[in-house]
Subunit: 225 residues, 2 copies
């Protein structure tokens, strides 16, 4: 039986978090991942692959993609909106890559499952960089959501974001120490065969690898690999 | 274009709320309703009927019933759990009729839609009676959820629960004044052809009609109507 739940997108941060929970914290998390009409839904397969490798059960895919019109103001979802590059989003407190209320939706659905599974700990991969554009990755958001769950009368849920004060470079460093295979992760918002290299999450990811003088094993269009 | 969103289950409280918003507050709410594997999903048709009568557009049914295993600890959902009667739930701070984290799920999904629709006001039908067993209908819950949404950097959402301090009798009195047809609402958790008359919501509903010396137009098994 699981003793917790990890929300895993299949990107670098949440995959590293899952390995950290199993290998360092010695937890036995169930894994939940979400499809919501994101262009880069190929990430979901990587979430599943790591859950299998680490023997995390049960694995739950929640497919919200039928509700994509609800999230259609996001360039991660709408075919009418192009994914901006990193320069276009810096300085914007809520860029088009923001998905309306995504993290509260994910946490709320996961908390329902946690109550049914009778586990009180939920982990998600918020990290320091995303604070620039996403209010729902901030320490304030985390504190407020935990304040709400503390009101539950029988099954208070605690949301943990162990990497919330860490940079992507810090997270990558952790993952490399644990032997995480980053070829089996996906970050690029475009969701094409190769990563674009210029969208906000590609830019952050490439910087993290560069900081550690490493080559990202994921193929990039601009790099010709 | 809508100027707000109302969450309407098809029960007495939320249907009255919708009429109140349109007829008294002169608002133009979109309407959202949820299927989540509840035994009494016949309520959904009444939500739709009132939205049509009041010309509330768009109407959105979010069907979460594929995720019913997440909520399977609730007797409103699980076929393995019987719906308790009113005596069995009084004194229980979170009875089996509680659906895990339901209201946060509904509000979180509705808030995403609100951001995409660019409306900032969401209404839901919390009322005073439900505080006995449901932490997510309390003024504290409402205050905390609004504290979270105030962090949104471009589209702060405000959750309103105008009936949160009212009894079901107060709400019924309002509805009768506005000409609400309560034959076109459904409350009973059992979801059979006739209402059981003994489950917690039937008991509350019957008491409200009795308080006003009225006969509930919905057929009840025990009353033979």
């Amino acid at each position: 039986m699981p003793d917790s739940i990890a929300i895993v997108s299949g990107g670098m941060d949440s995959v590293t978090l899952l390995h950290h929970l199993v290998k360092v914290e010695k937890r036995h998390p169930a894994v939940i991942t979400f499809a919501y009409g994101q262009k880069h839904d190929k990430e979901v397969a990587f979430a599943k692959a790591h859950a299998e490798t680490l023997e995390c059960k049960p694995f739950q895919l929640l497919d919200l993609s039928a509700f994509a019109p609800l999230f259609a103001s996001s360039s991660l979802v709408s075919e009418q909106l192009d994914i901006p590059n990193i320069e276009a989003v810096l300085g914007d407190p809520q860029p088009s890559t923001y998905v309306p209320n995504r993290n509260m939706m994910f946490l709320a659905l996961t908390a329902a499952w946690a109550e049914t599974l009778q586990v009180s700990d939920i982990y998600y991969g918020a990290q320091r960089h995303d604070i620039y554009g996403y209010w729902d990755t901030t320490p304030q958001f985390l504190a407020h959501i935990n304040a709400i769950f503390s009101l539950n009368r029988k099954m208070p849920i605690h949301i943990h974001a162990p990497f919330i004060n860490e940079s992507k470079t810090d997270i990558l460093q952790r993952g490399l120490t644990m032997g995480v295979n980053y070829a089996q992760t996906w970050s690029c918002y475009e969701g094409n065969l190769k990563a674009c290299g210029t969208c906000p999450t590609c830019a952050e990811r490439l910087k993290a690898f560069a900081d550690l003088q490493m080559i990202d094993p994921v193929p990039y269009m601009l790099l010709g690999n």
